[in-house]
Symmetry: C2
Subunit: 109 residues, 2 copies
């Protein structure tokens, strides 16, 4: 039951589990790649805070930095989002199987 896999998943969910970070991800998703300064424009927090959040997102593999002249553009890594979805699928599937087992158990007795 791959423990490393679980850690990666937890990291992704942790990264998405903060309001500010989630808004950053949404902004990237809807408006495309942006720099830290650009992202901090609409936000209620400092650019430095956004930078820290971007580090976290990068650590979780949700975002990829790319030097573009003197600025750094951050783009979304949609593969990780897909991975997270697959992970959730696995849990749901397990639950459904567990429910099935329970139902069969009840019907047999």
């Amino acid at each position: 039951m791959s423990k490393a896999h679980d850690r990666a998943a937890a990291a992704v969910f942790f990264a998405l589990g903060d309001g500010t970070r989630l808004s950053v991800v949404r902004k990237l998703g809807s408006a495309g790649a942006q720099s830290a300064t650009e992202l901090s424009d609409g936000a209620k927090v400092t650019r430095q805070a956004i930078v820290k959040h971007l580090r976290v997102l990068e650590g979780a593999g949700l975002v990829r930095p790319e030097k573009r002249g003197r600025e750094v553009l951050y783009s979304l890594e949609t593969q990780r989002l897909a991975d997270a979805q697959t992970f959730l699928d696995g849990i749901s599937a397990g639950w459904d199987r567990a429910i099935g087992r329970l139902r069969r158990l009840v019907e047999e007795s």
Copy 2:
């Protein structure tokens, strides 16, 4: 742009973003409904810690308690997992659209 929706999503992701909590969810998913004590058996933390985590999961709507005699069984709320998946879908879709816009922009010039 539902801000309340975002908070709910962040709560779900936050709930899943902790290793202990994630293992609890996985355990529930694979072995069906269980009590707090039962869940704390294999874990490396106290029952009280598990209880706290269950409160968080319940707050995020990921788990539902049900009094069963003198013990309380916690069962998974798969709907929330599905909601989370839909949420991620929305972001991916937005990103794909943004990429499409960018490509068109480049090709026009």
